[in-house]
Amino acid sequence: MDDLPQALLIFGLGAVVTLATTLMIWQGYRHWQGRDPFEGAD
């Protein structure tokens, strides 16, 4: 697992998962900003 293509693959997958998680949290945060936290609809 030392050569550059494999390292870039792992790096890319890590970046995608981290970015997806960040976006999901950001989307949820924006959705609930200023709303009643117990509101029924998503």
């Binding site: 697992m1 550059l4 997958l13 890590g14 998962v17 999901m24 949820g28 945060y29 029924g40 609809a41």
Partner: protein, 472 residues
């Protein structure tokens, strides 16, 4: 054994001074407040911004942050340093979730409350297995780290150093509860920050950054290369591992419940940003060692070696205090929040719901003592490969990231998908740990868990009532 960095007499004096200080302050702070179980477990739910930020930062600065980050910098150069610092993302990304938790669960006490109420008892059991393995691994690595580090720094016997650090942390946590933990964390975080800045400033005054850069370009250009394969491989591991640790563990949830609603978001952001400076500073010390070709008996001793070579006995004493403060501030948080989780979720909610408030507080105290004893017993035989234990738990905790965040924001989050996400993520993460490499475990676990959670919820959406969480 290699020559210790600090004379035993000075080391003993420092241990006695700081042990007495922590215990005296912890016991004294523990006497404040109403004295009920909620006060003992969550410090009256009224912690302000400064204390909240400091306790988050101090709990997240472990023995690893002060000793493993310089090793990462030394071995992997800039990427090593930056990838370690990315572990601060766990705290920063938890800030919006913390705000939501505070709104949805104003009377909540533990992260177990969330799993039980949001996804049901079966998901709670999966969570408990994951958090039990992680917590025991974390307690063991901190306890063993204490023994190994104090032995290397001061010549203390491994078991003596371990008993001192666990004993001191257990005593003030036992008497003072969360109030003692938060108060001592505040002082410990100040000590860590100030002493690290002093060591770094003095080191860079002797070897200015341009000189370090010039030497690295000449002798180790690979360490400055952002396409260094070894660096790319570890780049995101710390970020995803830290998210898994923070999102599920009761250390961080208990801080949310203990803080005022108005400060909870900012304290996690500030705590994460403040923490990120620590591996950057200690990691840069690793680069100084590399540039100056300083001889190292063990690579994980970069920080004490550089400090004592550049700054003499004073530098070694500063490192000793930083390490002692880092270890006690992490262990006290682990003991307090794990005792809260076991007493509240297992003893009270599962075994004996008729427990009175005084009995719950007594049960929490007994669990603190029990955890201290179990940690000592498990750490008695010495293991030298602590990093592998930590990476192993990464496979488990990273599987909780999406179930936690999804379940806090989306009413449609499916409970079976949450269980499947944690199980499938953990299994695939452990396979990656064994078949590919330990640093891939958290990444594969998080990726599989995210996929299962998102697809399961899309296919079988539920309609959860947020009011159920209010009962917690």
């Amino acid at each position: 054994m290699a020559q210790p960095f600090l004379a035993p007499g000075i080391a003993w004096a420092l241990v006695v001074i700081f042990s007495v200080l922590w215990i005296a302050l912890g016991v004294s702070w523990g006497r404040k407040g109403k004295g009920d179980a909620d006060d003992y477990m969550l410090a009256g739910r009224n912690i302000g911004l400064a204390l909240s930020t400091a306790t988050l930062m101090a709990s997240w600065v472990t023995g690893n942050t002060t000793l493993l980050a310089p090793e990462f910098g030394y071995r992997n150069g800039l990427w090593g340093m930056f990838s370690y610092a990315l572990a601060g993302l766990g705290l920063i990304l938890f800030a919006p979730l913390a705000l939501r938790i505070k709104q949805l669960m104003p009377a909540g006490r533990t992260s177990g409350d969330f799993f039980r109420l949001r996804y049901g008892r079966a998901a709670w059991w999966v969570f408990m297995v994951i958090t039990a393995i992680y917590t025991l691994g974390f307690l063991m690595t901190q306890a063993m780290g204490a023994g190994i580090l104090l032995e290397a720094l001061s010549g203390f016997d491994y078991r003596l150093g371990m008993v001192v650090v666990i004993g001191v942390s257990t005593i003030y946590t036992l008497y003072g509860g969360m109030r003692a933990v938060v108060g001592t964390d505040f002082i410990q975080s100040l000590l860590i920050m100030v002493l690290l800045v002093v060591v770094a400033v003095l080191a860079f005054r002797q070897f200015p950054a341009p000189e370090v850069h010039r030497e690295l370009v000449a002798s180790h250009p690979g360490r400055l290369n952002l396409l260094l394969p070894a660096g790319l491989l570890i780049a995101w591991n710390s970020a995803l591992f830290s998210m898994g640790e923070v999102f599920h563990n009761n250390i961080w949830w208990s801080r949310v419940f203990a803080s005022r609603p108005s400060v909870v978001f900012r304290s996690f952001v500030f705590g994460g940003l403040a923490w990120m400076t620590v591996p950057v500073v200690t990691g840069s010390i690793g680069l100084v060692a590399l540039a100056q070709a300083i001889e190292l008996p063990q690579v994980n001793m970069v920080f004490p070696v550089v400090a004592s070579q550049l700054l003499g006995a004073g530098g070694a004493a500063m490192v000793f205090v930083v390490v002692f403060a880092s270890l006690t501030s992490t262990l006290d948080s682990l003991l307090a929040s794990t005792a809260d989780l076991v007493a509240e979720d297992v003893v009270f909610k599962l075994l004996n719901p008729q427990l009175s408030d005084a009995e719950l507080k007594r049960a929490t105290r007994l669990v603190v003592i029990g955890l201290g004893v179990v940690t000592l017993a498990l750490s008695w035989p010495r293991l030298d490969s602590l990093a592998s234990v930590l990476f192993f738990t990464g496979a488990l905790v990273a599987s909780t990231i999406w179930p936690v965040a999804y379940g806090l924001y989306w009413r449609s989050a499916n409970r079976v998908a949450a269980i499947a996400a944690m199980v499938a993520g953990s299994v695939c993460g452990l396979l990656a740990y064994t078949l590919i490499a330990p640093y891939c475990a958290a990444l594969i676990s998080a990726a599989v868990s995210a996929l299962v959670m998102a697809v399961g919820t899309q296919l079988w959406p539920e309609s959860f009532s947020w009011h159920i969480l209010k009962e917690g």
